[in-house]
Amino acid sequence: MPRKRVRLEHAVEYLSILDEKGRVDDKLEPDISKQTLLDIHRMMLLSRRLDERMLTLQRQGRIGTFAPAKGQEASQIAAMAALSGDDWFVPAFRETAAMLWRGIPPENLLLYNAGYSEGGAIEEGSHDLPISIPVASQIPHAVGIGYASGLRGLDEVTITFFGDGATSEGDFHEALNFASVLKTPVIFLCQNNHWAISMPRGRQSESRTLAQKGLAYAIPSLQVDGNDVLAVYAAVQEAAQRARDGEGPTLIECVTYRLTVHTTADDPSKYRDEEEVEKWQGREPIARLQTYLKKKRWLSDKQIDKLEKEIEGQVDKAWESAHERIESLSDSQVIFDHVYAETPEYLESQRQSFADRLKEGE
């Protein structure tokens, strides 16, 4: 009997609760307070407007290249809202929205994007990691952090974000397998935004879903509508519970869309049609959430207008203070700080000669 069927359970669930028309499946509606939903909404708007402002600032040459989060706000913010501040956040490079939810001041994001590492400073004791630009390289960190939480007896969950492209990297596969074998309390959140620079999702992998890659490692895995705040929240809440119950990792594929450039250095007209973008524009997450909140009478057009004004002011102020900080940050000696806990002698002398030159130049 050389050929026997190995029985495997291979099904990937797709979870959608709030559809693009704003209709809700009440049976699946998660228990989220009104206040949390309004906070999520506010943060999504802030992220969107900050993104737009940064695009303008970049075009004016005031800040450098960055990766906009436009269109992916639900995947990021609803996920973070389902976790607590003690849980760990391990981002890739497009997680502006999630970072804002974690309380990172917009001013710091602006400072970082203007090319100053002070903007990337993280307070000691924080459970946020800095952005990680090498694709997929942060995913193993989440597994280590999660395992450490278990070993130290801490009730913490770790969430890590990455893109569809990242699932092609070895780091992704090694990390998933590791987490599964060690049953670490980790949530792998893949934002399938359909593009990895110019590579469409369909050419990144022949797998029908990215979620099914988790099944190969015996990790509970599902797809959710990544532009649906309710579905993302519900999926992450469930995954977090599983992690806290000692049942190990979950892979969540948020199906969403990159509504704008890959980064400000990119020209998508070279590789994708506007029609596709328009189609996804109709499914974008903010308007959808607004419809839902309005139906519940938790939000009105008037309140939205007011909020928009507030946010505009907040973004103005963030840029003002980032700008002021830049003006006050003229001494570049800081490039020698924090290479080591204690600066070795040879490096200190490099700093000294650098500082002497600065002084002479004055």
Partner: protein, 326 residues
């Protein structure tokens, strides 16, 4: 003859080699439809089709490992790493296999591949996009390591690299990609790997550099001529491995005074090896200790301060005047 920038000159080299030799294939992230994030492979997909121009998944280990396999089986892969900072997943394949295959099989299998990548600071890029870690490759026996400096030599060296029977790591100074144009002949041109050139003649002082920093060394040489009446010879290394020491050693014996300029970190940087060769080949002719102007031993800073990291005119001139007065 056409006036080309380095990006176009590299594109010309790829186009002509693909035209001439069916075994040349190009692979990398975004190299096809997008034409590469720096447009170095622009137009190749349209011309040579998707079997020879492979838009790959985001997977550097596979890109380099697959290139090793392609090369073993009769093709000439030209593999692009989007930035040198993302080549480390592929470094494993280069060190463990590309570099050793000829040696381990006693010549039975060879890996005639080219691993191209942009390196270096100065274009306001993101973190991990501005490093200059050529020593990782130059330190590895079995790999050749090339760093062009101008459109014309970039084109000629890339052609030679593609035709070379050994794996060649080809570092492209991204700050030079579109910095200036130079006459590049239409007809094919090659340059031997492992041979440096004299970029400027002089008898008073020798400046040794390569890649993007060569242009800063040349600028300093002009200033020295103007302000100090000193004629500096400027040597452009072009290859770090094999390292051609005969030319710079000869120059050092003539001038007795040497300054080395590179943007790689200082400690264990290329200047260390160059100084060692000078000690071996020109010690008794040196009239002053050799000096080096390099990137600092810190993380390459974010773009607002990247110029603080890089060797600049002030530092190069101070070192040059220092060795002249020692």
């Amino acid at each position: 003859m056409a006036e080309l920038n380095m990006a176009d000159a590299l594109n010309l080299a790829l186009t002509q080699e693909m035209e001439k030799d069916d075994s040349v294939v190009v692979l990398g992230e975004d190299v096809g439809v997008d034409g590469g994030v720096f447009r170095i492979t622009d137009g190749l997909l349209e011309r040579y089709g998707e079997r020879r121009v492979i838009d790959s998944p985001v997977a550097e280990t596979a890109l380099t490992g697959v290139s090793v396999g392609l090369a073993i089986n009769g093709l000439k892969p030209v593999c692009e790493m989007q930035f040198s900072g993302f080549s480390y997943q592929g470094f494993h394949q280069m060190e463990a296999h590309a570099a050793r295959m000829r040696w381990r099989t006693r010549g039975g299998h060879t890996v005639p591949m080219v691993l191209r990548m942009p390196y270096g600071a100065g274009v306001h890029a993101l973190e991990h996009h501005s490093e200059s870690k050529e020593v990782f490759y130059a330190h590895t026996p079995g790999l050749k390591m090339v760093v062009p400096s101008t459109p014309r030599n970039a084109r000629a060296l890339l052609v030679s690299a593609i035709r070379d029977p050994d794996p060649v790591v080809f570092f492209e100074p991204k700050a030079v990609y579109r910095a200036f144009r130079e006459e590049v002949p239409d007809e094919e041109e090659t340059l031997p790997l492992g041979e440096s050139r004299v970029a400027r003649e002089g008898d008073d002082l020798t400046l040794i550099s390569y890649g993007a920093m060569l242009h800063r060394a040349l600028e300093a040489a002009d200033t020295l001529a103007e302000e100090d009446g000193v004629e500096a010879e400027v040597i452009d290394l072009l290859s770090l491995s094999p390292l051609d020491h005969s030319r710079f050693a000869e120059s050092a014996r003539r001038t007795g005074r040497v300054v080395i300029v590179h943007e790689a970190h200082r400690t264990f940087g290329p200047a260390g090896e160059i100084m060692a060769r000078l000690t071996e080949e020109a010690f008794y002719y040196l009239e002053a200790p050799v000096r080096r102007v390099t990137g600092f031993d810190t993380i390459v800073p974010l773009f607002a301060r990247e110029q603080d990291y890089l060797p600049d005119q002030e530092r190069i001139l101070a070192a040059a005047r220092g060795v002249l007065n020692d």
